[in-house]
């Protein structure tokens, strides 16, 4: 079943669906700004990121401590400072600052976090390798019993940065359970950054001038505040905004819909296709949270809901949730929403299995708004009985200009529709006229998503009109 929407393998960052309702009259996340404003925002946040990452190097460039100590030596020092800056700012990338992630999509931010982390490790490794090769005496003994603390802190930080990257890139191969990995990732990366900062402080290079020292301390304080925000402030804020599970409803295809209502606050405002991080049956401080799409109408005030398919360790336990249980919702997040493309002349949705969840949110919302633009839904499932929301989709056809193309792997006798897995060919057959002008929303297993993207590219659909999100990272 769709690995990209089911939390397969025990809870990687994937997105099963959900339905959510908002009490707000206009739940659109941020449509009307236009492309120029979106690009301006993207450039602004990119500049902020680059400034923060390059800050130590800019300080070094502005105020060289003294005469050079050799090209390789100073290059190594620069790499060390920059490597730590990259690793320190990693906390900001996954802090889910909605304003900063909106121009890109939080999935892209997480992917960037993943790969820039690898790059940051390479910088730190290069810092060490240059010293090891060219200046072994300056490194001194490796044994913690004879090496000064700040040097041991540096070596330990290097090891821990490596550990963080290896356990993230190969979590499944190493058979590390998702929750354990999250705790390991948080604790080890925090320890590595703190140790690296102590190493720099202890080494004292470039921090001996008073004003650069003050700047460096301010920069370190910024990291500490960032970590405090991510690990303490944010969970504390979630704790003050609890939700109550009001219903656990069985759907077709081993899926369950959970509905929520805010307790003592106004709830959240979202756009169709957005998602939340859900913490169920525990404190937000435990970081046992999972991303799930909101699958309800953004126009329907009332309780929030998500729909989850039984695929992994966590999702299999969802049906045991009892009404009245406390939940925490961090969100909404994501740019996978038709509200970001108000000028679209029509939509084609392609869903595999529980990938229907965010698309259901879009269809319900568009129906509630009385939208009459032409729409096609290509929806793949194992068999007719496992088609989540089958009956409601039929009903939606009368409220929308919607054509539904079911694709069944194991169709019933007499089935004349599409069969097998969703392929580029099936999508091509389903495309309406003027296909290149429509906007496409794809949600399902990665092979399906890639096949559809390729087919659309071949049909001349511009990339900017094809929307999907990446949620298989660790």
């Amino acid at each position: 079943m769709p690995p990209s929407h089911g939390e397969g393998g025990g809870g990687e960052l994937t997105r099963p669906g959900g339905t959510a309702r908002s009490p707000a009259p206009d739940p659109r996340p941020r449509a009307g700004g236009g492309r120029v404003r979106a690009i301006a925002r993207a450039l602004w946040w990119t500049s902020v990121y680059l400034f923060l990452v390059l800050f130590p190097l800019l300080v070094l460039l502005a105020a060289p401590a003294r005469e050079g100590a050799g090209l390789w030596w100073d290059f190594s020092m620069g790499l060390g400072f920059a490597g730590l800056a990259v690793m320190g700012i990693q906390f900001a990338l996954t802090a889910r600052f909605r304003r900063a992630s909106a121009p890109f999509g939080i999935d892209v931010i997480y992917q960037f976090h993943r790969w820039v982390g690898v790059g940051g490790l390479l910088l730190v490794v290069a810092h060490y390798a240059i010293l090891r090769t060219g200046f072994p005496d300056a490194l001194g003994p490796a044994s913690p019993t004879s090496a000064p603390g700040y040097m041991t802190a540096g070596r330990l930080a290097l090891f821990l940065f490596g550990l963080v990257v290896v356990t993230s890139l190969w979590r499944r191969a190493l058979r590390i359970e998702y929750y354990r990995w999250r705790i390991l990732h948080g604790v080890v990366s925090t320890a590595a950054v703190v140790l690296a900062a102590l190493h720099i402080q202890g080494a004292g290079y470039y921090t001996s001038v008073r004003w650069t020292r003050i700047l460096w301390i301010a920069y370190s304080v910024f990291w500490v505040l960032l970590i405090v925000y991510v690990r303490l402030v944010k969970p504390a804020r979630l704790l003050r905004r609890p939700y109550r599970v009001t219903e656990v409803r069985a759907e077709r295809g081993d899926a369950w819909t959970l509905t929520f209502e805010p307790v003592g606050h106004a709830g959240l405002t979202f756009g169709p296709g957005q998602f939340v991080w859900l913490t169920l049956g525990g404190s937000p401080f435990r970081f046992r949270e999972h991303p799930f799409s909101l699958s309800g109408s953004a126009e329907d005030p009332g309780s929030l809901a998500i729909t989850i398919k039984e695929l992994g360790d966590f999702t299999r336990t969802v049906k045991d949730t009892e009404a009245g249980a406390t939940a925490y919702l961090d969100g909404p997040h994501g740019v996978f929403s038709p509200d970001n493309h108000p000028a679209a002349p029509g939509f084609v949705f392609v869903a595999g299995g529980v990938g229907i969840a965010p698309i259901m949110s879009m269809l319900r919302t568009l129906a509630d708004r009385g939208d009459r633009r032409p729409m096609v839904l290509v929806y793949g499932n194992a068999d007719r009985e496992s088609v989540i929301f089958r009956d409601e989709l039929e009903a939606l056809r009368s409220r929308l200009d919607l054509r539904v193309v079911h694709v069944l792997e194991d169709p019933p006798e007499g089935w004349t529709g599409e069969r097998g897995l969703i392929t580029g060919e099936i999508v091509r057959r389903a495309l309406p006229p003027r296909a290149s002008e429509l906007h496409y929303f794809i949600c399902g297993p990665t092979p399906m998503s890639e096949a559809v993207q390729k087919a659309l590219r071949d049909q001349g659909v511009p990339l900017r009109r094809v929307h999907f999100e990446l949620f298989n990272m660790v």
């Binding site: 680059l50 990452v53 390059l54 190097l57 070094l60 460039l61 060289p64 005469e67 050079g68 100590a69 050799g70 090209l71 390789w72 030596w73 100073d74 290059f75 020092m77 620069g78 790499l79 400072f81 920059a82 800056a85 990259v86 999509g105 999935d107 892209v108 992917q111 960037f112 993943r114 790969w115 820039v116 790059g119 940051g120 390479l122 910088l123 290069a126 240059i130 090769t133 060219g134 200046f135 005496d137 300056a138 490194l139 001194g140 003994p141 090496a147 000064p148 700040y150 040097m151 402080q201 202890g202 080494a203 004292g204 921090t207 001996s208 020292r213 993207q453 990339l463 999100e469 990446l470």
Partner: protein, 143 residues
């Protein structure tokens, strides 16, 4: 496609950062001819510091024992950040003592972490300290 985009942006970011680190190193170390070049990896070893052999043995043992090469170099061995070559020509013995121990005269020039480390040297046996000062005062080579 979005994954590839994120990967390329990340790679570009790292290249820019590494490039800036190289720029920093280049500005700190202008090519020979513009300013006096400092030793670098693979460069020729600088002119060795001259030191009296008698002072060298005992002082060198203290120098090695304290791990001075982590922050300093003599004749290209150790950290090039703070070379000690020629320190005997530049500073009086008591000045060198102040720098070794992080005394009041030099504390404005050192970070608190370095000062703390140097303060620990005040506990070494007087004979060892004098041997170290003999070594450093005897460094009259280039630098």
């Amino acid at each position: 496609m979005r994954e590839r985009l994120a990967k390329w942006i990340a790679a570009g970011t790292i290249v820019v950062i590494a490039g800036l680190a190289l720029l920093f190193a280049r500005l700190q170390n202008p090519p020979a001819g513009e300013e006096v070049a400092q030793p670098a990896v693979g460069d020729a070893t600088p002119t060795p510091a001259r030191m009296p052999v008698s002072a060298g043995a005992a002082g060198r043992a203290v120098y090695d024992g304290l791990g001075c090469a982590r922050c300093h170099s003599i004749a290209g061995e150790g950290s090039p950040r703070y070379p000690l070559d020629g320190v005997g020509s530049r500073r009086e013995r008591e000045e060198i003592r102040a720098w070794v121990l992080g005394l009041e005269d030099v504390e404005d020039s050192l970070s608190s972490a370095v000062l703390r480390r140097k303060a620990e040297y005040r506990g070494i046996p007087p004979g060892d300290l004098e041997a170290l000062l003999d070594l450093l005062s005897g460094l009259h080579g280039s630098g």
